[in-house]
Structure formats: C-alpha cells, structure tokens
C-alpha cells in the first residue's frame, strides 16, 4: 500500500475534526441564545425590594392600618453547615421538628432550589429577630430579610379592613403575572377591594454572585436596579371613633350597625358583631383556626352579608308607596283592634295602642293593621288586572329604594337580599290561587322580604334625603385614588320628594313625642338632636325577635343615617334604638350624655340567646 499522501489524508482528518469543534462552538455561541439567558440567571441575583403597603386612614386622618417592621428568615440550603438545631429553634421560637422538617424538605428539593435562598419562616417579630441576629454567625446559611407588615393603631373595623396574607398558588394563577410566591395581598375587606392601589410596585436590586451564591458586587453599579414604589394611601369614609364606639356597643351581641352620611352616601361606621379583633388581622395565620372555628363566624360581615326580614321599619316603604300611588293620604285613619282581621278568623296581631289612628300616628306607634290596609289598597288598585300585576308594580317601587338588589357599594361580598315577585307566589300557591291577604305580612316587613342592614341604613339615608340616596361607599376620593362616578350620582326612588316629609314627621314623633304618648322609640330621644327613627321587631324563627332600628338626625339637613340590627334583641326599642341613638349622639356631639344607657348597652350579653349551627 502506498504511503504517499497519507499525511494529506491525516491533515484532511484534522481539518474535519477541527471543523466539528468549531461548528459546535459556533452553534453554542452564535446560533443558540438560550445560553446567554442562562448565564444571566446564573450570575445575577435579583433581590426583591418589597414596597411598603399603602396606609389606610379614616375620614379624619386617623391611621386605621399602618405598617411595622418584621423579618423573614431565609436559608440558602447549600450554605448550611452542621448546626445546633435545638438552639436555632429556641432562638426563633419555633418547634425543633419544624426546622428538621424544613431541612428535610430542602434536601428533597435540592436540585430545584440549587443555590437560591428560600424563606423558612415568615414575619418574625423584631424582638425575635434581634435575638437571632446576635447568634446568626452560628448558623451559616441563615439570614433575615426585612419586610413590613400591617399595624393597627386603633381597634376599629377589623372586618371592614380585611387582612393581608401570603398569596397561595390559586391566587397567583388567578392574577397572572402580578404575584409571585412569597408576595402578600389583601384577601378580604378594604385590603382586597383596594389591593391594586395599596400594594405598590416591587423593586429589585441586582447583584452579581458566584456559584456559591455569595454576592460579589452590585450589577452595573446598581444602574439597572429598580426601586420599589410604595403603595398609595387610602382614605376611608369611616369615622374611627364612631366605628370603635359601635364595636363597643355591640360587644357580646350578634348583629350590625351601619351609619351613612346621607348627603354623600359615605359609610361612617360599619360594625359587624362579633367581629375580628385587629390584633388577629396582623397575624391572621396564627388565629385562623380560632376564627374559622368560632361558631358565631366573626369573618362573616353581617352588615352586608346577612339577610334578615326588615320588620316594621319596612312600613315606611309601604307608607311612601301608598302615598305615591294615591291610595293613602296622611289624614286617613284606620282602626286597629289588636290586629288586622281578614278572611275567616285570620288575624295579623298588633299591640295595644289608640284606635283609629292616622298615618303619622301609625308610624309613631308602629301599627300593624294600618299597613295591612295600606298594602291591600296598593295591591288591589283598579288599574291592575290582578294582584300579581299589583305586586310586581309594588316590587318595582320597593326596589327603587335599593332593596332586593346589590346596592353596588365598593365593599366586596355585598349581598342583594330579596323582594318577592308574583312569580314567587305563583310557584308557592299556583297562578291565581293567592290574593293580597296571602301576602299581607309584606306590609310589616315580614314574610318573603329579606334585606341586609346596609339596605336598611340606605333606606334611612333615602328618607333623610327626602327621596334619593347615594350608593353607600367606604373609600373617599383622595390624591391618586379615584372613586367610581356612580358614587356621586344621586339615585332617585319612584316616590316623589313631596311625600317624604309626611313620613318623616311620623318618625320624629316616634322618637320625640315624650314618655307616655305611645311613641315606640322614645328611648332614642336626645335633646336638641331631632332624631327621626323607626323601630322594628322582626320575627326570628330561631328564637327571640330581632331588634331593629333606623334613624337619622337632625331632621333638617341630616348628618347621619343609621341602621342597627341586633339579633334576638327583642323589641326594636330594647337594644337597637338605644344603640343607634347613642351612635348618633356620639357622632353629632362627640360625646354621650346617658352613661347609664351606654353602660347597659355595652354590658348586655345576648350571646346565650343566639342559636348557631
């Protein structure tokens, strides 16, 4: 075999091998961009700068929710060396098995974690962190990271404010691209409703690091860093003092108070009892079990979520509709013989009061029979072909007061209540098989009517405004925070403004007639405040009647409209009226003049009366 040219073949082979190398290098360096991205990820570390969350103020500038410093304990599993587990557990105030479990988990996920740091413990209070910081050198791989958490200077409006907690995977999936594991977000109340404004924007500092995750220096001297943008502050319509006072009055009772400024629709106080103490909000995880196992459901915001029969306060609505429809005139009198008798021996009972009585007196004394006549007259008008048409017309007018639908407040999880229509009764009794007497309990706010305390407060504000209301809302427009324009548009009812003063006169007399005159809400009287109110005693199938009261004051140019609803509280005058009256006095005068009444209300404990699941 010839040996000539063999060196040429070898050189050709060398050329081929070198081309193979260069080709692969070319594809790595020029054709494939993924390695550059990997390199960036490899060598830079993004340290997230968490923005401070916006502060929540009350209407007078009092801080309801602020921020304070806490620490997260981070760990870089690759840097951890043998350490005294028990000592770390003691310092961090956790169970030693917790640390062991965590370390076991990191070992299992070590390839996923790699050189990263993971959060082992969240929101460690500053005192605990200081203790840890002193002995940190004993625990290589562990470090603390500052984080601000919520702080509640006044104990007002736990339910209202809502809580902030770490997002879970479901939450992250629901808001694609906005959150990452470890972020916090408002979960309920204002924190949830105004999450976008409050949360601010995260920033980051970029550092170069080596493969052992040691930070070497800022990347490009920090020019690529992004500072965190703090969240916007939120000003609420709440009056912190009033809110707090309401919570004190509602202690050991189940129910709600909703106070609205009639001329704006701003919610001054929104109490749901029993509620959540703000101390629990700050560390919701710790109290979560306690809260969720409480049979009285403190998370449940009764003010907007509980639907009750409104009781006698609803007579005001029927009276106004009667006036508008022309079937009622203020001077019309009806008899009441301890109730309204209809059909063969049926009777809708009433208490003892003078008879016959006119409209003002019927409101003042809360006569049931009077409104049976009124409702019957409304439903059985000649202009309607049948009672079904009458009922639907009545329903439409009722709903113009906001009943039977969501008011559209900016408060999350508001419920609509319900107002029956002809369909409701057609389903129950069959078409044509019912008449106005079948539905007669609607006249006094019983039966198939359900409304939330918010609806009642809104009714009160509507009457105070003589025929229109502003959608109740809890956020005030402030710098950088806008509110929807629906909150500034008056919502008119289908009842003419002219008719309202007639009803208001009755409400004034209910409160201000003086003792012995038969006014149901005499207890709510406060000198010079001109409170106008209406009591209600709503039947509760689960025990004692519910105590209901709505009122506004003063009569001219009202400043506050309020609804109080106390479950199993008995007569409207027993609990709801005093509580509402005290609230009005507190708000308008800044102090109360009836310590005996205040004490009685604060100390009353109705919890044993309340039946729960």
């Amino acid at each position: 075999m010839s040996q000539d040219g063999r060196h040429i073949r070898l050189l050709i082979g060398l050329g081929a091998a070198v081309l193979l190398l260069l080709g692969k290098i070319f594809s790595l360096q020029i054709l494939n961009p993924s390695y550059k991205e990997d390199a960036d990820r490899n060598s830079t570390i993004y340290e997230t700068i968490y923005p401070t969350r916006g502060v929540i103020y009350d209407r007078n500038g009092t801080i309801l929710v602020g921020n304070k410093v806490a620490y997260d304990i981070l760990v870089s599993p690759r840097e951890v060396q043998a350490f005294d587990t028990l000592a770390l557990a003691t310092v961090l105030d956790v169970d030693v098995t917790f640390i062991r479990e965590k370390l076991k988990e990191y070992r299992r996920r070590r390839s996923a974690i790699g050189f990263q740091s993971v959060t082992m413990l969240r929101t460690v209070p500053a005192e605990t962190y200081m203790r840890f910081d002193e002995v940190k050198y004993k625990f290589p791989g562990f470090r603390g990271q500052v984080r601000s958490i919520r702080d509640y200077p006044v104990n007002a409006g736990g339910n209202l404010l809502g809580y902030v907690s770490e997002v879970n995977q479901a939450y992250i999936d629901k808001h694609p691209g906005e959150y990452r594991s470890g972020d916090y977000a408002g979960m309920t109340g204002i924190e949830a409703a105004r999450e976008e404004e409050l949360r601010g924007e995260k920033g980051y500092h970029i550092f170069l690091r080596n493969s052992r995750n040691q930070i070497e220096q800022p990347y490009k001297d920090g020019t690529e860093d992004k500072e965190a943008i703090p969240g916007k502050d939120i000003v609420t319509t709440i009056d912190a003092a009033l809110q707090q006072y309401g919570q004190e009055l509602m202690a050991n009772k189940v129910g709600s108070i909703v106070a609205i400024e009639p001329e704006t629709g701003e919610i001054l106080a929104l109490v749901s009892a029993p509620g959540i103490d703000v101390n629990m909000l700050a560390d919701i995880g710790k109290y979560w079990k306690e809260i969720s196992q409480n049979p009285y459901k403190p998370m449940y915001n009764r003010a907007v979520q509980a639907s009750y029969p409104p009781g006698s306060v609803f007579k005001l609505v029927n009276g106004l509709i009667g006036l508008e429809e022309g079937v009622l005139r203020p001077e019309m009198s009806y008899p009441c013989h301890q109730g309204y008798h209809f059909g063969a021996g049926h009777k809708l009972g009433c208490h003892v009061h003078k008879s016959p009585l006119n409209m003002e007196e019927s409101i003042m004394m809360s006569c049931n029979a009077y409104y049976c006549y009124v409702l019957k007259n409304i439903l059985d008008q000649r202009k309607f072909d049948n009672v079904a048409e009458g009922l639907d017309h009545w329903r439409e007018m009722v709903m113009s007061f906001g009943f039977g639908r969501k008011l559209g407040s900016d408060f999350p999880a508001e419920l609509s209540g319900s107002i029956p229509s002809s369909k409701t009764y057609n389903r129950a009794y069959g078409r044509g098989s019912w008449n106005s007497t079948t539905v007669i309990s609607l006249s006094i706010g019983q039966g198939e009517i359900l409304a939330t305390p918010m609806h009642l407060a809104n009714l009160c504000a509507t009457i105070a405004n003589r025929g229109h209301y502003f959608i109740p809302h809890i956020i005030k427009a402030s710098e950088g925070v806008e509110i929807d324009e629906r909150f500034t548009q008056p919502q008119y009812t289908m009842v003419d403004t002219l008719h309202f003063p007639k009803v208001i006169k009755g409400m004034w007399r209910a409160v201000n007639s003086g003792p012995g005159m038969g006014g149901t809400a005499a207890i709510a009287h406060v000198d010079s405040l001109d409170i106008c109110g209406k009591t209600g005693t709503a039947q509760n199938p689960r025990g004692a009647d519910n105590s209901v009261f709505i009122c506004f004051a003063p009569m001219d140019h009202p400043k506050i409209a309020i609804a109080a609803y106390v479950e199993n509280g008995g007569f409207g005058a027993t609990y709801a009226a005093p509580i509402a009256s005290l609230m009005v006095e507190q708000y308008l005068k800044g102090e109360t003049s009836r310590p005996w009444l205040e004490e009685r209300m604060k100390e009353a404990n109705l919890m044993s009366r309340v039946k729960h699941d």
Partner: protein, 506 residues
C-alpha cells in the same frame, strides 16, 4: 521523500516556537482571568494560580533552552529504552504510593510539588515508539512488528488505566495516527471509528440499530472492494435472509388462509375478496420481526458467506464476516461493559453526554455550566476579565481542564477561532516539519507530538462544549499546571532539537 531542496535550509523552526509562546501567554492571561477576584490583584502575585503559572512558564522555558541548546539531539534516540523502562516503573509505582486525588492514583507528591508520571510517559512512549518504527527493516504489515507497536503503546496505557486515569489513557489511542502514517492499514482506523459508533448507538438507541449500521458499513466496504462479485452475492444473501425471516409469518398466513378456506368449505361463511387478501398480505408484512431477520442472516447468510470466503480464498470477505461476528458480540456485550467495566463516574458522564440522563446538578453540572459560559460569549465575548461565569466560579476546574471556557466567554467565537487555529497551525507545522525530516526517527517523533497535541485538543475542547464526555485532561500549554506545561514543552522542544539536528546530517 519529496522536496529535497528544502532540507538544506532547515534550522530552528522559529514559527513553531512563536506559536508555542503565543499559546503559553494566552494560557497565562486566561488563568489570571479564571482565578482573579473582584479585588485588584496582580498577575504576578505568587500566591495565585496565575503567579504560579508564571513560575511554571519560566522553568518550562529553561527546560526548553536546555533541550534545544545544551543537550545533544542524538541523546534521545539513545536513551529512549531506559527512559521508557524508568517511566513505566514510575507509572506502576505511583499506583501504590500516591495519595488519592479526586479518585485517581496518578500523582507523586514531593513536598509542595506534585507531578503526574502519566505526563512524562507521553514523552517516553513517543520516543520509544518512534525508535521502534524507525528501525531498519521495520514493516507494519509484519505481525510481530505491529504487535510490538501495540505493546509499546498499550503497556503504559494499561498502567494509567490502573491509576484510574482513563482520560489520560485515551490520549494514547492517538498514536494510531502515527502507526497509520508508518503504514498501518487504513482499515484499522475505520475499525476503531466503527467500534466507537457502534458503542454509542448501542447505548443511545438499541443493539438492533447497531447491527443494522454494522451490516450497512460491511456491505458498503465489500461493494467498494469487490464490486464484481458483490452484487450477485448480495442478491443471493438478501433473498435467503428474506425467505428465512418471512418464513414464520408466511406459515402463519398460510395456515390462516387454509383454515379460513376450510371454514368456508364446511360452513360457507367467508369468501375472501381481493381487497381482503391484500389486507392479509399487508398484515403479514408487518408481522416481520427484526429478530427473524437477524436469525435468518445468522442461519443462512453467514454460513453462505463463510463458504464463499473459504472456496474463493477471499480474505477480505472472511475478515468482513469475522468483523461482523465480533461487532455483534461487541454490541451485545456493550451493555455488560457499560455496567460492569466502567466506573460509576465514567458511566454517569457518558450517560449525560449521550443525553440519556439529565442531571444538571450532578455529573452534568460541569458540562452545562461550561456550555453556558462558552455560549454566553457570543461573537466577540464579554471582554477580558469581564466574564461573569468564569470569574464567579460557576465553572469548576476553570483554570485547569475548563480553561477553554474562559476563552469562550471573554473572547467569544473570535477568540475560540483564534486559539483553535493556533493549535491547528501547531499541529500542521509539526506534521509538515516531520514530513521534511529525512531521519525516520525524527519524522515518526514529529507525528507522535502532533498526535498528542491533537488528542488533547479534541478531547479537552470537545469536553467543554459537550461533544465529549467529561474527561479530565488539560488543554496543552493553556491549562494551569506544571506537569502538563513541562511535558508538552519537552515533547515539542525535543522535536525542535531533532529537527534542527537534521541539518547536520547533510
């Protein structure tokens, strides 16, 4: 011998020395880049690797000067046998006395200095092999001469494998190029290539595919060598294999047809239409199993081929059949070799290389980080000392085995191209100079040096870019480390001395 006229002008090849210098300096600069920290430190700080490398470079240059100017060039041919014996002794000794460095037993530790006899062994093996193939009357085709070549290469290889330095041993396979140049049949090169291909195919796909490739290569070789006799043999073998492999399905089909026909005759139920018959034929084709084909081949084709080879005294055919049988044995024993002969870390590195196992934190970590470093370099690189991957220690062994990453990241494709072309120049220059030598010893030795440099270059760079498994051998002249730098300096400068000495003969 061609171009006799040029021989007269030979002296020291300064171009070769120039490339040597360039590579050493590039290596030094990149070692500094790979190990420097963010604090300003000097390339001459002797506590750092760059500083130490400077010492190694100076001493290497001293060695080079001694070899080139003090020692007589004829010395090397004279001492090659005792040197080989001495180094072999060290190679064996080191197995027993060395400390364990990263699982291998290949380092002598003498106080602060440690060195690897495997590096010197390249020199002694090159010298002895060159001496042997340059003996008067040496013929590669003579089996005894060839086996002695194999022994010269194989014995130190085995010793190095026993030191658990399989990577370094792999370099010795490069001497096959020298043997090729000295007359070894090109078929041997092809054979080794084929073995590697079969090995990889078997591990990544299946032994059956390897057998298919094996058959394909052997058939192609026979077609190339003996086109006259090839086609009718192929036709006969093919037909035989087809019949045998189809036989089981054929029988099955026939029995089905017969039973259906019988069924029809007795019960008058089924009348096969043309379409149905076609469908049956198709299903019968798909019933052919690779196993049948192989059995058919083994049962019919191979005896047939052996018969022909014997009758016609056709050596090539006989060798082909033998190669086939050996190949099949290799393929089916690869699994065994892989799981029982290779060590755990070698196995996992091969698995990662072949994409059989994704383990970026374990065995794949080095390669992945290295690819990221090189890949992030782009066309022009990030600039000297600006590399984030190598500077911050993502790439392990970055100043020694993975020094090429620093080049790739900081100098980009252009830098890689320049460095590789410098090596190509070095190798080509070695080969061309060797070709100009009249002395057989110097010429063979030149090829040995070129082969060593090439093997190191290909394996090392191939490893950093994921073409080769992670085999811990240095990049010649660039990687940090005295043993390696000294060894290649001596290797190259002995050739330069021999080359200059050529001139004195004429």
């Amino acid at each position: 011998m061609t171009e006799l006229s040029q021989h007269k002008r030979k002296s020291i090849d300064w171009a070769l020395i120039g490339v040597y210098f360039l590579l050493v300096l590039i290596g030094w600069a990149n070692i500094f880049a790979a190990t420097h920290t963010s604090e300003a430190d000097s390339i001459l700080d002797f506590s750092t690797r760059a500083g130490k490398q400077f010492v190694w470079i100076l001493t290497a240059l001293g060695l080079a000067a001694i070899i080139l100017f003090l020692l007589p060039a004829r010395l090397w041919e004279g001492i090659c046998i005792p040197l080989y014996g001495f180094v072999l002794g060290l190679l064996v000794l080191v197995i027993f006395v060395s400390s364990n460095i990263k699982g291998s037993h290949s380092w002598f530790s003498l106080g602060p200095v440690s060195f690897q006899p495997a590096e010197i062994s390249k020199i002694s093996t090159s010298l002895l092999l060159s001496w042997w193939v340059s003996q008067q009357g040496f013929r590669m085709t003579r089996i005894r001469d060839f086996l002695i070549c194999c022994a010269i290469i194989g014995v130190p290889m085995l010793a190095i494998i026993a030191e658990s330095e399989t990577g370094s041993a792999l370099v010795y396979t490069g001497f096959i190029f020298v043997l090729y140049r000295k007359g070894l049949s090109g078929w041997w090169l092809g054979l080794i290539g084929l073995v590697i291909v079969l090995f990889i195919t078997t591990l990544t796909t299946s032994p059956y595919w390897s057998v298919v490739i094996l058959i394909g290569v052997l058939v192609a070789c026979n077609a190339y060598m003996q086109p006259a006799r090839f086609w009718h043999r192929m036709a006969i073998c093919g037909a035989a294999v087809l019949v045998v492999s189809l036989l089981p399905s054929l029988l099955e089909w026939l029995s089905g047809m017969v039973s259906a026909r019988m069924d029809y005759l007795t019960n008058r139920i089924w009348v096969p239409t043309a379409g149905e018959t076609g469908k049956y034929f198709w299903s019968f084709i798909t019933r052919i199993r690779p196993l049948y084909v192989i059995l058919g081949g083994a049962g019919v084709a191979i005896p047939l081929l052996i018969y022909w080879a014997y009758k016609k005294k056709d050596t090539f055919l006989a060798v082909s059949v033998a190669a086939f049988v050996a190949g099949v044995l290799l393929v089916f024993s690869t699994d065994y070799i892989f799981n029982n002969v290779l060590q755990e870390h070698q196995r996992s590195r091969i698995e990662v290389l072949l994409g059989m196992k994704e383990d970026l934190a374990g065995a794949g970590y080095n390669v992945n980080q290295s690819k990221i470093a090189i890949g992030s370099g782009g066309l022009f690189g990030k600039g000297y000392l600006q590399g984030t991957q190598t500077t911050f220690g993502f790439v392990p062994e970055q100043s020694t085995d993975f020094i090429f990453c620093t080049v790739g990241e900081e100098w980009g494709f252009v830098g890689c191209l320049v460095v590789i072309l410098l090596y190509v120049f070095l190798i080509v220059r070695l080969i061309m100079d060797a070709e100009r030598c009249r002395g057989h010893f110097a010429r063979a030795y030149g090829y040995c040096v070129a082969a060593c440099v090439f093997m190191h270059l290909f394996i090392n760079v191939g490893m950093t870019i994921g073409l080769m498994p992670v085999i811990g051998i240095p990049l010649p002249l660039l990687s940090y480390g005295g043993s390696s730098l000294w060894a290649f300096t001596i290797l190259i400068f002995i050739f330069l001395a021999l080359y200059r000495d050529e001139k004195k003969y004429f």
